[in-house]
Symmetry: C2
Subunit: 240 residues, 2 copies
């Protein structure tokens, strides 16, 4: 019998829905019963991760620990967190709970290497908090990958408003254009691929994908979750 | 502070993802923190509901009770079950756990009445189990609604294969056509609207919607959940 997958979500809720749906679509199942059992804690009241990293908001750690403890009580030994910025706090949450988290940034960079073999530089579209915590830079180092980001001005002018627009359920067409402009900038900096490294971005990554290969970090996490959960189970196998 | 919504899902997983996404999209939220906190138990290994109702499979009640107890321990007082057929077992689960469930069939029939005021007869596209348990017929009575279903032959030829196709991640175009044919039959029986009363059907209800108004029971459940959870909370309001 397959183990239970824990999902610490709600950051934001749409990104969590995208993760769960991708997980189901990647699963090779002929009926309900062959799908992964999932428990999800999605409390969107977790304090804003970027605000905490910038030192202008409370820490999300207590809320994350509460969610993890609840997932552990349900029997989930492996936990996926479909929020890139939250990964800055996971070492602390791991220390406090002993939980085992799937590594989303590494999964995304591995997908980039699979899609563009030999890539030396990968761009990342992310929140200000993910940048500040150098989440992708740290994940890139052991893989020999150089990570590039848009300029401070483009972060303010393109990425921050695009992410806020999606979280607010706002103008998707505008968000799509902002993300495409940011992807263009990373392409000009020599990136071989771009990671949509904030879980809201894959939802509007379409025109950007015509400029440069765009890796959906949320889908990479879903793929990793599936592979990890099915390791040892012959009942199911991943699609790709 | 808004109460926690419990979701007993995984029946099937795609329908659960559709419910969760609809809930988020109906919410009028400007940032993550304004969304509903949700806990989800999605164990797709819950025995097949229709097989149990037909007497050819084990009861899903023990698995449902396990999920409900876990949601209750997490603090969820109100529970949504995005699976029509599972509603046949909820009275028993309520007796065993004391849980309070949102009533999906009633929510769907109320949506039908809102969309077609004065409707006297509503058709239901459902699994064999939902039919056998007369879930919609019971919900229609207090609303003064007459419920009609496709013939036994059409259930076998159109609905059963369409539902199985979606659960297996199969040919959506074929499923769409089968559902449209079934909706046509209900329209000819005098139905003023049709409830997509198996949570897989809204995923392929498009051409049917050109023949007759189609109510997505999963969306009705999401709307009811939102209204119920926000009652008394000024922080948020539903879209419609």
């Amino acid at each position: 019998v397959t183990e239970l997958l824990g999902v610490l979500g709600g950051m934001g809720p749409l990104a969590t829905a995208h993760f769960y749906r991708t997980l189901i679509e990647l699963t090779w199942a002929e009926n309900d019963q062959a799908h992964l059992p999932v428990v999800l804690w999605a409390d969107p009241r977790v304090p804003d991760r970027t605000a905490a990293l910038l030192g202008v908001g409370p820490s999300p750690v207590p809320a994350l620990v509460m969610g993890v403890r609840w997932l552990q009580r349900a029997g989930a030994a492996t936990i996926a967190v479909p929020c890139n910025t939250a990964h800055a706090f996971l070492p602390e949450v791991r220390r406090l709970t002993g939980a085992s988290f799937l590594d989303m940034p590494t999964a995304a960079l591995r997908s980039a290497l699979a899609q563009v073999p030999g890539a030396a530089r990968v761009g990342v579209l992310a929140t200000r908090g993910t940048r500040l915590a150098a989440i992708y830079e740290r994940a890139g180092e052991p893989l020999g990958l150089d990570i590039c980001q848009v300029s401070e001005g483009s972060q303010r002018r393109l990425l921050d408003p695009a992410i806020a627009e999606i979280k607010a359920g706002g103008d998707r067409a505008r968000a799509r254009q902002l993300i495409a402009d940011a992807a263009q900038e990373l392409s000009e900096l020599g990136a071989a691929a771009v990671v949509a490294g904030c879980s809201e971005i894959p939802l509007v990554a379409q025109p950007a994908g015509e400029i440069i290969p765009v890796i959906d970090a949320t889908a990479s996490l879903a793929e990793l979750a599936l592979l990890r959960m099915l390791a040892g189970s012959a009942a199911n196998r991943p699609l790709a």
